[in-house]
Symmetry: C2
Subunit: 516 residues, 2 copies
């Protein structure tokens, strides 16, 4: 038992990406599980009250579905569809039917089989940010993102072992045309990392199909194989309150048809897009998730789906969105309980509203991460690099988040109270008033005894000051630069790259010709 533990501890340390020697010490790529029961803040009765209230919303108010294909699918499912108003109402029997028999756990196949992920249960998956239009680092400040920033971000997402999943290219390359930039983003994602991916853009059927097809090429599988062995975690947002638009519906349906796990994530910012209470926002969120899952299940019964959590609130003084707040933490915890009620995995996020990588960015991200980890959120999207309410992707924040997540993952490694670890012999050897530095018990484990940080500076003040008195954010700047310098592209068959290149070229020509 002791030997197993020692070796597992040794295995956890000083291993850089791809096991080559690195100047940056970090934990190895490994699955993270929360071995403790989920933290639950509402009773079974309260959970049922939320479910019933959201079913009442679907029965009496309904959801506006601005998408012909979805309206047809929902009609086929038995929902009450009004083609004039596009309002769809669901009765509770239908909701129960939709939510029955959904997969509670599934496998996401990475290009590198060692990075294949299990999603569901007590597994935690950390994915890097996606969506921002701005990039920020200490050298060049906050600026519009470019494809070079995307490529660097994906390289960093690849190099930082704590991120299990490349979460969607990191940011928008605003230097490329909007109608075809998803092709360049996917190309970067598929070739620069061998971790599993989040497709960057699902806001049209064609774009979604491009992502799926490029993923298929990268994996060297058939469409049928890919549907059986999902490779993406994909997701869409509803247009809260209670609207599903056609762009989002397209992405949802295409992913469902392709057998890729998809999360339906309402954009419920309490006080703006949902009621000015977390309780009401959770009811609305739940209604929108149920409606979205119904669309996916109508497209392909039994397809893997996630519960999507994003509920936070706006600052009622300014209207600004607030993230990583106490309200956010509570909404994560209740959402995870709801997801377990339905027997499906849940995604949430590591969020902050801070405009800069500072103490606020850390404590708001900590509020997000702790509540996700405690409540068994399965996929933490935006887990690395999110800043300023998701408007900005920050390279320094990506390193800060890596430290926060590494620490939390180490906290989840259980203590082992065996004779050797409890150290009676060491205490006998050292005795009252002695010192443990030189004890045999210490020497046998000093290299692997404790968590080693990637970012924290524990030197004394004088040593820290002489070395430049750098803040954590300044140190993070050096770390990502070192990782970029050390980056080596994971091996990929040149024929696959060629096929991807050809696909991108062909599709860009079509887009220039046809508009999409």
């Amino acid at each position: 038992m002791t030997r197993t533990r020692t070796s597992s501890r040794r295995g956890r340390r000083n291993v850089s990406a791809d096991t080559k020697q690195s100047a940056i010490r970090q934990l190895p790529f490994r699955a993270v599980k929360n071995p403790y029961p989920p933290f639950q803040i509402v009773s079974a009765d309260e959970l049922e009250a939320i479910h019933l209230a959201s079913v009442r919303v679907l029965e009496e108010i309904g959801v506006k579905v601005q998408d012909a294909r979805s309206l047809n699918l929902l009609k086929g499912l038995g929902a009450d569809v009004d083609p004039e108003t596009e309002i769809v109402k669901f009765d509770r029997a239908l909701i129960d039917e939709v939510m029955t028999g959904l997969p509670s756990e599934f496998t996401i196949h990475a290009r590198n089989p060692e990075k294949t992920l299990t999603v569901g249960g007590n597994n935690l998956t950390f994915a890097t940010v996606c969506g921002p239009s701005f990039i920020s680092d200490l050298d060049h400040g906050r600026r519009a993102g470019t494809i070079e920033d995307v490529r660097n971000f994906v390289k960093l997402a690849h190099s930082l072992n704590i991120y299990h999943h490349e979460g969607g290219a990191g940011l928008e390359p605003l230097d490329l045309p909007p109608e075809s930039r998803h092709l360049d983003m996917m190309h970067a994602q598929l070739t620069l990392t061998d971790k599993a991916w989040h497709p960057c853009w699902l806001n049209s059927a064609k774009r979604a199909r491009d992502c799926i097809e490029m993923g298929r090429i990268a994996l060297g599988v058939s469409a049928e194989e890919m549907a059986e062995r999902p490779a993406f975690i994909a997701g869409i947002n509803t247009n809260s309150p209670l609207v599903l638009d056609s762009a989002m519906a397209d992405g949802l349906i295409e992913m469902a048809l392709a057998g890729q796990p998809v999360h339906v994530t309402p954009f419920t910012l309490a006080g703006a897009m949902s009621p000015a209470t977390i309780e009401g926002s959770l009811v609305q969120q739940n209604a929108e998730v149920l409606a979205g899952v119904a669309v996916a299940q109508a497209a392909r019964k039994g397809c893997p789906v996630f519960y999507g959590h994003f509920t936070s609130n706006v600052d009622m003084r300014s209207g600004s969105p607030a993230f990583g707040t106490p309200e956010y933490a509570k909404s994560v915890m209740v959402s995870a309980q709801l997801a377990r009620r339905y027997g499906i995995p849940i995604r949430s996020s590591n969020t902050t509203a801070s405009p800069v990588v500072d103490a606020q960015a850390a404590y708001e991200s900590d509020m997000s991460c702790w509540s996700c980890v405690l409540s068994h959120v399965n996929v933490m999207m935006h887990a690395g690099g999110w800043l300023e309410g998701g408007l900005v992707c920050s390279f320094e924040k990506l390193i800060l988040d890596a430290e926060i997540l590494q620490s939390l993952s180490a906290m989840l490694d259980p203590l082992v109270f065996n004779e050797d670890n409890m150290g009676f012999d060491a205490m006998t050897e050292v005795g009252p008033g002695g010192h443990f530095f030189g004890a045999a018990h210490t020497l046998s484990r000093y290299k692997t005894a404790f968590y080693e940080p990637i970012l924290s500076d524990w030197r004394n003040f004088e040593a820290w000051k002489e070395d430049g008195a750098r803040t954590a954010t300044e140190r993070a700047n050096r770390i990502w630069k070192t990782l970029l310098e050390e980056y080596e592209q994971p091996s990929i068959d040149p024929a696959v790259v060629e096929e991807l290149d050809e696909y991108v070229t062909k599709r860009k020509e079509e887009i220039v010709a046809n508009g999409e």
Copy 2:
């Protein structure tokens, strides 16, 4: 139910210290309870294994007690005392006897009865830092502490409502003579805040008695009344491994005799003062706590005691202490389980090793605070202002910690799933695609809907930039200055101040004459 909630929410906001109008918005002074079950990471069997291993340490290795009075007390209790080696051994029956019938909850009486505290159960008490020799702020950097810094710190501890307890004067005034500075520190504590106190120095019987006597004067009670109505939370450290020295024993015994709750806190830094495992350090910590509690109980059976947690680890590369680590979090959680096993309250701390108030300071403090809050730590010492492993007291950190603790306290306010909060009518009013800003449901609660931060900046990037692009630490600097400007001394009977002045003068004369 709704009305109660609305009014309780209103009561939580925009109330400054002493209810006068302040430029700094903060939550009011209020008790904080954790309504959820404690987070537990070891089984009952594992907990028993720790207890039994620590009893074995006390039976077979013993504790060195470098104090004649304690040796006598322990002999009287039935321990096996070797006067030559000063080694004391305890058998398990004696330990069981010592640990039986101890108070699990007690009241700490503040000078202002509204700030009287209940300690134990699911109550959380946040106390400001004590002990550092250095003070730090953005204006003057890191420097030796002075009595003026002490006074300013106590004023801030008074002004920040989230701190329930003035934790021990904040720092050492190195401009005053060491033999009498405790008198000036206590004078500041007793006169500049009406919150309950932690006596600043217990490292001799005379100093401990000075603290008790000055507290008694400030409260205007007799010694007997004070013993029945404790006013202090006091504490001592053991000299780990397995030593109790006479200075610490003096403080412990005097506080026990005076009926003041006292914590026995081993200084177990794994790899240096305890085995290089958290498991072994917890065993040793537990043995030292049990021995210290035995001394206190021998002095006054049934006197209120705390379980003292401080176990962290050293960085095995540099020997530097590490704080706010995954190991620290786990040791907090197990220690709280041990305290509950013995039926006594527990104290821990809000720690960080960061040399500067930055993201590291925030995430290490968060690791500390989350683990304390989740595991039902009753008194969080050093909850505000601790920096650099406790060497430095930081004014900006005091504000950062206030935000972290306020947020956590708000997270512990339960959600209430009644009809009004669940907002069905609001969703009906707004409908799909609408906006909640102007809804009646929103307007009726927009002033009190959500947590309002003391430090976080949620404005958009442009507004933040135009206002000086200040980091959280820079904003914290402005906040403490505003609070100091606004500070008003809480009312105190001038006769009491005169009596305290006279006591200090008299004792300083004695100290000059007699050395103590």
